[in-house]
Symmetry: D2
Subunit: 418 residues, 4 copies
């Protein structure tokens, strides 16, 4: 196993580096909002994670690269120690990008030493966690730099552009599910986050799930119908945000002279009606669903529908960093369930029955965030293919929009309840 | 039915009046925080509810008392029209208390006229809703004036004091429940809020529920053990509040010279260890449960445990307006499940499968608040006995503390999951 | 002297009472913004002033009415002790208005006992200060209740209405002043505030002062010319306020269907073009002056122009509580220099050379506010006639608008500078 | 003259470049608070100034480097157009440092072309203004990067360290000035800012000015005497800031284990008692003066004392970027009046009698800031020697501390007033 693990470690670390390569040094420093982080910080924090939770505990004689980094690059692990204030990450010009690359190299070399030997099962699990942790930060690296670039009036591009896919999306179909008890959560040997466990039973009333994602074209009809001006379509907390933040469309939509444009990682592009709508908040997803006479699926409905399907799709490996045109489903299975856009569910993020966070600092990884957030499922165009699975629970506050987050509709099947 | 309804209408209206009688005119004007309202506003808003949703639609020739009141006393019904800003309710010295009493009389007289005749089933349901609505505001009237009095360094008393109950609470027992599908929600003819419907099935893994409430004495041990200074006991969002608001104990606890005192509606009193702890937020309830090696019940577990039990307890009718000493349970049923204190559950407030809010403005009553809140169950010492039932879902944001909100523990039953 | 002082004490106390008489109990409780105070608080604070600084020190055997009032009704005297937070004054329903009246009576009776005997010169000066202090709060009582009433959609009236004066204001004339050294400040025996001393010399370059106040009609031309939309007319800090607060006209101006209306202490009234403009901030006064090709006078220019003139005018004693129609000046002296509206000067509020605040808590009366404020001169329609004089320095922050504050223009006389 | 002007232009531009050379690319991007700017922004904004006010108007055929820069690098000239929000300057990773250097080169080359020919007197004055403008930004570049480095837990150094000067400061002496009229303001041919004009007369009552600056040792005695905990020493607005911002010492002072350290542009250093105290706000300067039984000089007293003295001192040219040890005065003239630290005066920043800002956008340079600021005099260790003069008026809000701002005391001479 170590060899395989070592290989996976290397690959993940290399992907992080290669994702940062198109950026200028200046790009890696900026923090465009409190919940985003500079690229440089992502590079260092993922490294700190291995240093703190693996090397410092598991490699005899390991010397910490710079003790001050423990304060600078600890994200939120109170059990490890105090942290540099999150909204102040963009104030740190030092360590420089080059010094951070030196830090990465220092840790990578130590990890190589550690991975030549047999590692304990427990340490192996922590390394596995570190790999998955870095994959999560790869996604944040992309969404954070997209936010920074969109905050710059020059609207820089992260990668060369590409023609928008065209294809017209056909009307969505509903895939029906009967009522019944189903099993939810991770129950096999492979790696999963603690929040996916334990496996347990949930009763689902009959429901139907749309076979494809909501498109920009459909969402535009909502916008043009005055969706952002009708209080009765919105959750009360969402309506407050709409008014205070003056939302009029998804994040990164800009109305030019008549036409809508979209900020992408390839720069500004005309809005394509057949693309899945993206960068909406839970509030917007919920309001759209109400307007459309439907609702969001629960995370359990989503998981039941995804069970047994292959995790294929448009992931970070495609290098497109943008959702693909909404596809027509074949064979009565939902299309684009994995990749493209994270799908908001109507489920608040809460522990499963019997949930136990790990002991120690790593117990802070997931458990303490189980309030004030909603669950998203399925991964996005910025997610690693190896990172996602049907039981995977992502979570963000209901007003967050800077992730690749989209909408799949569900509805109740009436008459079938008892 | 009209007669019965008329009688119930009168009784509820009279209770509101009698709850306001101990207050000085000045007391009825103040608003001590944005989420509280002046007594005067409660008196008027409940009246506006009947005027707007019953008389204006159901009584031929009814003349609105004062058209400006529609703006002043509409709480949050966007479909009815714009509203005076909530945090500015305490700025309104006019209409005076006497004018508001005149408004109440005007509406009561019209309601009497309306209730002499047969009312349609639909109108009857709205009147029923108005009665229940007023009962909810009676509870708010008491909790809001308690907050106002506690904000005044003079710490005035709403009612004459009374010796604290003594009795020592014995160790709690756990009442075990097997796994299985159970029915949740309101499914009978009697009145219930829309958010309690439709009835549906939920699967519960095996769990145990404490047979009594957590006491002040138990909670004090948590406080003295440094519970408010240990990050690892708290949800992340809760820990932020603890630090920003410098929480060190439940709301209304004050540390004097060595001893803890409690602000009550009878003024300041020594803390009684055998009373149920009260005025805690969801965050505190959750942190306490974690410290105690337990967790909060879900709202479904709570409802399953309450099903079939009589709704007896210490309600507003007792005139005590304070929870009674925690009682030892007999016969393996949970004590004080109804009345005394609302019990925080670990369930975010979300719609039941198949939930449909009513059409029109009354659809704003419950549905639009289904995010960023947690469910509380069971009623409190400020709730009307006739108002509560096993399926009743109250909800407040996780940092709210000014309601009579307390804690009942639950825990998973291991080994019995599959 | 004691007799005269006693008589003046009584008269001032009675005026405060009579100013509060038209109010409902509810009106006396509300605080419509942090910088305003409830009527009840003014009634109590002025009483606390005499209790703390006179009776507690000067009357043997005096018993404090209620020790808790020292915390509640201390405004900002840190040397006396801590204070109830200013923005929370509107939360205090107790003591009730009746209890506050009891407090006033208690202190008045003690003052009567004290004033039957000879009082020391020093104590006499403090009583004098207390009288002037209460006159200042009488003015605040009126401006604060005006703000509260204007914040209420019902727009209640404090006193019965009265037809607006008509008379058309003729074009203003400029009264010229030569360059030279002049004496500034209070230098005679009678009472004055410490901030008016010591007398000293100031050099004035030649200037001209308008012989009358700026009218609503003139100010309306500024509004209609887009004055609130042209950045170049405004001080930078003022422009920030205009944009953030969305100012479009003076406080209390409301645009109805075409016509402008004004909130007054007699309720809503049509705007009268010949009245002096009122309820403008320093920023607005300064922007108007720039638009009009003039500037505001310095406080020294104002004082030089006022020296030797009789302090006659429209004061609180007129019972109008509103500025009178702008009068044409006769005999080349400025009209309405005293009364009607406080006149903003371009002078920041700073100490005179050699200024020494009194020792002890009363040193906090004026000295510590000598930053971030501008000086206003001349008194208003809410000022007592006996309270004002040519050397009197009032001061408010440059964005304050709720006082009766208006504009008199000045300009430089060119060519005469050296 | 053009030749001289060209030479001065080149020298100033080169100094800006050389000041930015010790910085890493990353350092030039960060903005550590809303009132500071990134180095990169200073480099571009000073360039934009010449492009907009000189080249665009004065050089035929000049092509703007990048039209978008007009939005990005306009600081506050509303007459030129809208601006990128000031607090968001640190979000701009693009243009990169290299692109900004290209921008500078583009403009420098065009300026060379323009300066080979004769320029009109008016254009010459604007170039002169641009040179002085860039000198002001050189100072901000240093103070802003100092703030950024001090915000970084790594406390980086901008330049290599240097031993602290030692020499013990002797007791200050008072230099007395008689009462009288004196001339204030700029009245000769050479360049000066509009706010220094017109020359005019001011009457000064007799005063004395300290012959040297207040030292860190003296200020430490104030700190240790509880100066930051005594409300009666502070202006009320200053006391609010002390409490809200929890000030306990000047900016950049840090208490280690027992000893005080200082953040400097050479990194952390032990506090030297004989250095002038620096990085204090007006509020602290004022409180210190009160504690010391003195006061701050007015800007007119300062100018009267400085009249005729040579502008020699520790300026940016010394390359020390830190105030020198407080020097004993010889020959009854104040030492270190120029350079080292800006000296807070007790004078709010207001226009001189007869002041007229220039027409057009350049009228926004100084005039619109004439409220809510206090005047500082004399330049600092970050000021160019050629930039300063006795009539120079710098200005900052009373709570600003990140400039090199220090204290010189003054006092009234009693008995001599009339």
């Amino acid at each position: 196993m170590p060899e395989v693990l070592a290989e996976r470690y290397r690959r993940v670390r290399q992907l992080t580096d290669s994702l940062s390569r198109p950026l200028a040094t200046e790009d890696m420093v900026v923090q465009s909002m409190p919940s985003a982080s500079p690229t440089k910080w992502h590079l260092a924090h993922t490294t700190w994670f291995f240093e703190t939770f693996v090397l410092d505990r598991g490699l005899a004689g390991y010397e910490v690269f710079n003790p001050a980094f423990g304060f600078l690059f600890n994200s939120y692990y109170n059990a490890v120690g105090p942290q540099h204030a999150r909204p102040q990450r963009g104030v740190l010009s030092r360590p420089t990008v080059e010094e951070v690359r030196g830090y990465r190299q220092h840790v990578d070399e130590a990890m190589e030493r550690l991975l030549t030997a047999e590692v304990s099962a427990e340490l192996g699990r922590v390394i596995e966690l570190g790999i998955n942790h870095e994959q999560q930060h790869q996604e944040l690296l992309l969404t954070d730099i997209k936010h920074a670039f969109a905050s710059n009036p020059l609207r820089p591009a992260y990668r060369p552009g590409e023609a928008t896919g065209d294809g017209v999306a056909t009307a969505p179909d509903w895939i029906e599910h009967d009522a019944g008890v189903c099993r939810i959560g991770h129950e096999i040997e492979a790696f999963a986050f603690d929040n996916e466990t334990p496996g347990h039973r949930v009763f689902l009333e009959p429901f139907a799930l749309a076979d494809r994602l909501v498109t920009c074209g459909e969402y535009l009809a909502f916008v043009e119908d005055g969706g952002y001006r009708q209080a009765d379509l919105w959750l009360s907390a969402g309506w407050d945000v709409v008014q205070q933040s003056e939302w009029q469309a998804p994040l990164y939509w800009e109305r030019g002279d008549g036409d809508w444009k979209l900020m992408t990682l390839a720069g500004m592009r005309p809005l394509s009606p057949s693309e899945p709508v993206c960068h909406v908040s839970l509030y917007e997803a919920d309001a759209y669903a109400r307007w459309a006479g439907a609702r969001l699926p629960t995370e359990f409905e989503w998981e039941a529908a995804a069970a047994g399907l292959a995790t294929r799709g448009n992931f970070v490996e495609s290098g497109r960093y943008h959702p693909s045109v909404a596809q027509v489903s074949r064979e009565k299975t939902p299309s684009q369930l994995f990749g493209d856009v994270w799908e908001w569910t109507g489920s608040p993020y809460r522990p499963y029955p019997g949930y136990e966070p790990p002991a120690g600092a790593l117990g802070e990884y997931n458990g303490k965030f189980m309030s004030n957030q909603f669950v998203l499922r399925g991964g996005s165009c910025a997610t690693s293919e190896a990172h996602i699975r049907a039981t995977y629970r992502n979570f963000f506050p209901p007003d967050a929009r800077w992730q690749f987050s989209g909408i799949r509709l569900a509805r109740d099947l009436a008459g079938a309840r008892s």
